[in-house]
Symmetry: C2
Subunit: 330 residues, 2 copies
């Protein structure tokens, strides 16, 4: 096997396991996979092949790319958009994309740009976007009065993804989703969209789950009690071996999302990441050679993938396929 380095590498059996596992709990439309985590239409196609043909997007670029790849039959952009040019691009996508709104202003801008389908985004406890639950019905009425198809509600309980105790997670998700269900009753429509990888099987109140990280994984989610495997690593080459006890590899923070901290190295300790290098502490540097390959496990999947042009699918030593990361940028 001779991949360029640094390269993102996907383990085929772990990928297959992750798709099969989530499909069992969330068949078909009960999963609305979030493409922001993996930003690749080739990977989205594998989910479509497993019966999941409705997708969540974070950016206009993601929605445009999914539609161009023939995966646009029911796309939700689960973020507010206020730039006029971006809204016009959303309105131009066929079939019509569903867009999140949380205020009079975001509704009026969407209407002005010709967007036809909206979802009311409700704040369910994470200090980010979303209207207060009691305002959702009024916003839906405003949109419907302008001729918009209001398909329901969404609310992301992102503040609960990392609750490690499962029983506590269930209780907190229930309280959070009570806010969303209150809004859903006022809004109507068929969609109650929420959740993520951390709550994929504990959020039983939403009728579709917006999970994405489950597909490839990262070390932060791996610390939870989830049934998914770590499928993604960053392969790199040993550039330099210092007899004082460290190796230097040719992958650093420009190829890794760093907001959840350092990557994990199974054969020793990560000392620090520089732009283009990672320095690894090991007990026996003499067992390594310059040019050896080794792999790092990223701490945060989404920003790691967003830094690369492609990922490689491998089965042991065999390279099976390469996937373009074709949904990057805005």
């Amino acid at each position: 096997m001779n991949l360029p380095s640094p390269s993102l590498v996907i383990d085929r059996s772990a990928l297959d396991h992750n798709i099969a596992t989530i499909s069992e709990t969330l068949p078909g439309r009960h999963l609305r996979p979030h493409v922001k985590a993996f930003k690749s239409t080739a990977l989205a196609q594998r989910l479509a092949d497993a019966g999941h043909r409705t997708f969540t997007c974070a950016t206009v670029r993601e929605a445009e790319g999914m539609a161009a790849a023939g995966l646009g039959e029911d796309l939700l952009i689960a973020n507010e958009i206020v730039d006029r040019d971006q809204l016009r691009r959303v309105a131009a996508i066929e079939p019509a994309v569903t867009l999140a709104v949380d205020s009079e202003e975001t509704i009026d801008l969407a209407v002005l740009a010709g967007v036809r389908r909206l979802l009311i985004d409700v704040n369910v406890g994470l200090p980010r976007c979303g209207c207060v639950p009691g305002d959702a019905g009024r916003l839906a009425d405003r949109a419907r009065a302008a001729g918009i198809d209001v398909r329901g509600v969404m609310g992301y309980e992102g503040h609960l993804m990392m609750v490690h105790d499962r029983a506590s997670r269930i209780r907190k998700v229930e309280r959070s989703m009570a806010l969303l269900l209150e809004a859903a009753e006022a809004v109507g429509g068929e969609i109650v969209s929420a959740g993520g990888t951390g709550t994929f099987d504990t959020n039983t109140w939403a009728n579709e789950i917006q999970a994405g990280t489950f597909l490839l994984g990262d070390t932060q989610y791996d610390a939870l009690d989830l049934p998914f495997r770590l499928a993604l690593t960053l392969e790199c080459s040993v550039l330099s071996i210092n007899p004082e006890g460290w190796l230097v590899v040719n992958a650093g923070l420009k190829s890794l999302g760093m907001d959840h901290g350092n990557p994990t190295w199974l054969e020793g300790e990560v000392m620090f990441c520089s732009d283009e290098h990672t320095t690894l502490r090991c007990n026996e540097p003499s067992t390594w050679s310059v040019g050896d390959r080794t792999r790092l496990y990223p701490a945060h999947l989404d920003p790691t993938v967003a830094k690369h042009e492609r990922m490689w699918l491998v089965d042991g030593e065999e390279i099976i396929d390469q996937f373009a990361i074709d949904l990057r940028h805005w």
Copy 2:
């Protein structure tokens, strides 16, 4: 002014100030600008126009792009490379690129691939690449015996960039550079390359300085006593306003280098960054409107720039130019 958002924005007067300031201390070849910080041939051309025509690169892609843009007359790749395909790409660049080596293995791989110019990389205290100073002469002999042009030495005192007290910084840089000068004496050749933005005027022992961050700046370097201005901000749009006292903007950790922490917002406090959003605490949310623009100052320049496709040069409200970030990836 109507830029897309999020967008990287360069303030023209700060950019001009930064180039003029460094050229005064380090005219012509005394500065070997490091393109890894800004990854744009258009910005490199501005430095060439100011008399700096020798450049430092971190990746093969940077060197290839610089050569293709007519800026390749004296390129140094200041990192070791061990992948055969990458080494062949280095050897194919005309005129010949100079490559860093720090071991018998990196020399032998470079020779095998047809690389013609090398620099001996010396460890001057940062736990990363570089040979021990006493080994530099032997490595140079080995390379010269294989017909290589060994142009001298380099050593990056990266562990001293953030020494805030100037007098202490000077003393530490002197001790670090004593190691490099010891190696330089054994190696010969005309180049003694070192330094960065943090030591651009305190490293008076090297004969060329590999600075890059000075050009656009970041909040980490801005905490030092340097004469440069912050030229780069990330412009974003207000998506959502919560009466409890926060704003949400449409730029998050996928558009910011996060390894030095959160960006800085001059009008309040950054609560946290998500993938596509930043939540900002402000005292008077009612003074903001959905759709308003605001700007964040990145904490770390290099990985921030590497996440974007382009930067915009502005003068007040006027958009002057756009620069492709054309030196990304590996």
